[in-house]
Amino acid sequence: MKRVRRSQVEIEGKLRERTEVVEEDPSPPWDDRARLRVAGRPHPRLDGRAKASGAAIYTQDVGLPGMLHARILRSPHACARVLSVDASAALALDGVRAVLTQENAAAIPWYGGTTRLLERTVRYAGDEVAVVAAEDEETAEDALHLIRVRYARRRPVLDPGTAPRGGKPSVYTRGNARKAVSGAPVVVAGSYRTPAALHQAFETHGSVARWEGEHLTVWDSTQHIFGVRKELAAALGLPLHRVRVISTFMGGGFGAKNECGKYTVFAALLARRTGRPVRCLLTRAEESLAAGCRHATVQTLRLGARRDGRLLGIEHRSLCDVGAYGTDGPMPVGGPARTLYRCAAVRTEEVPVRTNTGPHTAFRAPGYVEGTFALERAMDRVAEACGLDPLEVRLRNYSPGDPRGFRYTRKGLRECYRIGAARIGWRRRARLGRRGTSLRGLGLASQVWPAGGAPPSHAVVKVNPDATAEVLIGTQDIGTGTRTVLAQIAAEELSLRARDVTVLLGDTGAGPYSLLSAGSLTTASAGPAVRAAARDARQQLEELATGLARGKGGRPGPREVCREIGDAMVIGRGARGPNPEGLKACSFGAHFAEVEVDAETGEVRIVRYVAVHEVGRVVNPLTASSQVEGGVLMGIGFALLERRIEDPATGRGIAVDLLDYKLPTALDLPPIEVLFVPGADPRATTIGAKGLGEPPIIAAPAAIANAVAHAVGADLPELPLTPDRVLEAIARGRRAP
């Protein structure tokens, strides 16, 4: 039975009121007493072999008979008016089949209606100007160079400090923070900066589009097949049933693939125009210019505390450079300040400013990574000012519930601290020091992230005559192991092995709706739906067993039932139930880093790393560990290396390949110890699990910065911690009394 209710849901750190259609899920939650055989145990990825061997077909691998290749012409100017586009020479090139320009492309609204698919004003270097479809990629690329565009250049806005507001600031208050901070005996104030960072998923953004009569099929590298279907259908004026979106395997998105991209619409328009399938993939340079970023922040922070380290007030203001367009608004940079510690007086403000740079988008725990860096750096300074150990200060400000006035389903942060501190040997911290030019430091940081999942998510489970099963669900596996985890959950309920279950996902034509794979939602949303569907199937099998029971043969087992009923198959149906009223489900974590800083060169080497998380039940410890390692890796990149770089005069991206945009390599990584707080969170979801997608990146930059600050004896106000900044901090540390 479906019903409607008003509900508060927190996705990607943003709290929203919404009307929710909910369907109660009668499954009794798997608590700590549940004796599970498959869920909660390590299981290798069911698709691991296919991925490692190259058999798995990603969007990039889709090749269709007669397929054309599209390439996009992008503005080299950060701000300009397009006076004319002359594509005649490109169209005359042998092998070119079509060129889309502002003159012949439909005026489809884009970026929330602030521009159109192809428009006369370009607002960042990388903005789309024209698209070519040709027989092969090289010809399409050649054709781009034959398109003559006349631009009237305008002076770009590149300095966020003087940039215009890009929308309304987002303000939160409880108590009187200004008064509380100003009156506090200990005040720590600082300004912290984080750079624009790029997602750099292995698989670049891209789509392949094919029309069959009035029906459009699109293969897309996306985190939300149903979202792409909806946006694409709206853009093209099609009814939903004529659009099918497929994402069977996906090479990472990290928030940059939550929506329908222009490239998808280009592929569909060009395919319709030419009557041929069209593939439109971004190059690595385009991926660096025009596929979103974590927006840069300048955060000003004031903490007021008592002399015993207890917080009295927090004031946090962040200037967020949302780039051109940036219709998502500022990310919740103030989230950690609002929710990580017990503090009666808090004011946070996120101010969006608009520059002529590539628009931002969600990026793995958007806002929280940046905000945690500033807050946790400042908390270490409170500890220092009060003569306390940094861990002790965090324990003294521990908030058992959400300090905005909600209770948590469970909060295991205290256990994270305890486990991590013991593992890394936190008590050594006071004894670490200088040996020659080597400075040692230990740092920690804490993490909170809303990760309880949400409805709607639906699943269907088909049980075959040979007692194997298929799960149909409209979610997608963005590389996290969703396919395996959902198979484990279905197998648990059906008393099967995980490899007896095939999960068919990533196809709007096959599975019912499930939420986007973002906001650490997937396991906690799709997981319970699959369990409910599998449970429904199991109950049907049990009822049939009763009906089939006869004489001395007795009651048949499920395997016999399947065989007996044959093609009159059992089909289970299930939906994700509502979230518990009045409770918040969050994932927690604490990260600990030990670093060695070269006092002469500013080089930072991470020598040990311990990551502890509380996410309720870990459905698959193998894929969960991979998730944490990947998150820490990404956090190390953000802490030490990565930043989008524009030429300060023109605003053009200049670090657009993987040589200049510096991702950490295997050699740059320390051994990462991954630990989980044991136990389920049965109040959060019926499978006792919460989300883990984003949490592992959140605390990493802060933990590393705190360790480096401890080593050099000075604050580190800006990421990444490149040698120039570390050397400068060392010099400041030396001058300090």
Binding site: T437, E600, P664, P723, L727
Partner: protein
């Protein structure tokens, strides 16, 4: 990538002629690790590409009358792994080990490494018509110069990207080249010229001259050190090579100048006396004294100083007691466009 004609002649002389007679320009390809990127980005648009693959006898590494002779097509990995190089020219082996990634080392060649084009982001992006591409501006001056030259710059401020060249300058190597006028042998330092001479290129080779072999005097004590921001797939922020041979110390720096930078100041400071912690520090300071950093790369001065000091000590086998006094403090480097 622009379409091109591909030739694979059997001799260096024929390869040189193939370059000379190309109507729309030609480029030599060996391992292709640098050229392919340039072709794809249309930084290089030759009408002809001449491969050296079919030329025999360019691969080996051998010792001949007190010198290591390394063929231009020897791969960087072969140099890194060669027991001969490791024993007789350790700085070169260390430099080779630090290059790129295993994949790049497996394909990249010694000749290609010496002749590779700079990594300057303004040079590598077609949208910036910089001096090196025949334009009128070095965009690094007003732009983002964090990885650019602190020595020998102007009017173009690239840094030379080759690690092998830095080691070879310290080791006093020479290079045999083949061109229209036959073969000639030049000291490695003379292979390179500052942009003040010709900003459009880094070497002194005529367009049809091809590096055939590198000759390295064997046996000097030597060391190479490289500072980079990550430990694989990264070029030197600064590098240093030091050789202590019979003719006195030779010191070279990488990542700091448009050429592999020989520091006669450092060599003079070291003199003929045995290296000590003090003389190493003094030599490093002397090497960086003429530095003229740009807007964003002041930090490279103390960094290069530290790397060079350590390299000198490593070459001499002297234990590192740490820097003598607090290292030079870089002035705050506020980057244009970042100050919000």
């Amino acid at each position: 990538m622009r379409a091109f004609e591909y030739l694979s002649p059997k001799t260096l002389e024929a390869a040189s002629a193939a370059v000379r007679t190309a109507p729309e320009g030609a480029r030599i390809i060996a391992g292709g690790q640098d050229l392919l990127g340039e072709l794809k980005e249309r930084i290089a648009t030759p009408g002809r590409v001449v491969s050296l693959k079919a030329v025999p006898g360019l691969r080996g590494i051998r010792e001949e009358s007190g010198s290591l002779r390394i063929g231009a097509l020897a791969t960087v990995q072969e140099v890194a792994e060669s027991p001969l190089v490791r024993e007789k020219a350790p700085a070169l082996a260390e430099a080779a080990t630090s290059v790129g990634t295993p994949q790049i080392r497996a394909l990249g060649t010694v000749g290609g490494n010496l002749c590779q084009r700079p990594r300057c982001w303004y040079y590598r992006l077609a949208d910036f018509p910089c001096l090196k591409k025949g334009g009128g501006t070095c965009f690094a001056v007003e732009g983002d110069s964090r990885y650019h030259a602190i020595l020998g710059g102007g009017p173009c401020h690239i840094v030379h990207p080759s690690d092998l060249a830095v080691a070879l300058v310290a080791l006093d190597a020479s290079v045999e080249v083949v061109g229209a006028k036959g073969r000639r042998t030049i000291p490695i330092a003379d292979l390179y010229a500052l942009p003040a001479v010709d900003a459009s290129r880094e070497t002194t080779l005529a367009p049809d001259e091809i590096v055939a072999e590198v000759s390295v005097p064997a046996g000097a004590r030597s060391a190479f050190r490289k500072f980079r921001e990550k430990l694989s797939l990264d070029f030197a922020v600064v590098a240093a090579a030091v050789a202590l041979g019979p003719k006195g110390p030779r010191v070279a720096l990488g990542g700091v100048a448009p050429v592999p930078w020989r520091s006669r100041e450092a060599e003079a400071a070291l003199g003929a006396k045995p290296v000590t912690a003090e003389s190493a520090a003094a030599a490093a300071t002397a090497a960086l004294a003429p530095a003229k950093p740009l807007k964003n790369n002041r930090y490279k001065v103390p960094l290069a100083c530290a790397v060079l000091r350590r390299t000198i000590l490593a070459a001499a086998g002297v234990a590192d007691p740490g820097p003598p006094a607090p290292p030079a403090t870089p002035a705050p480097t506020k980057k244009a466009g970042e100050d919000f």
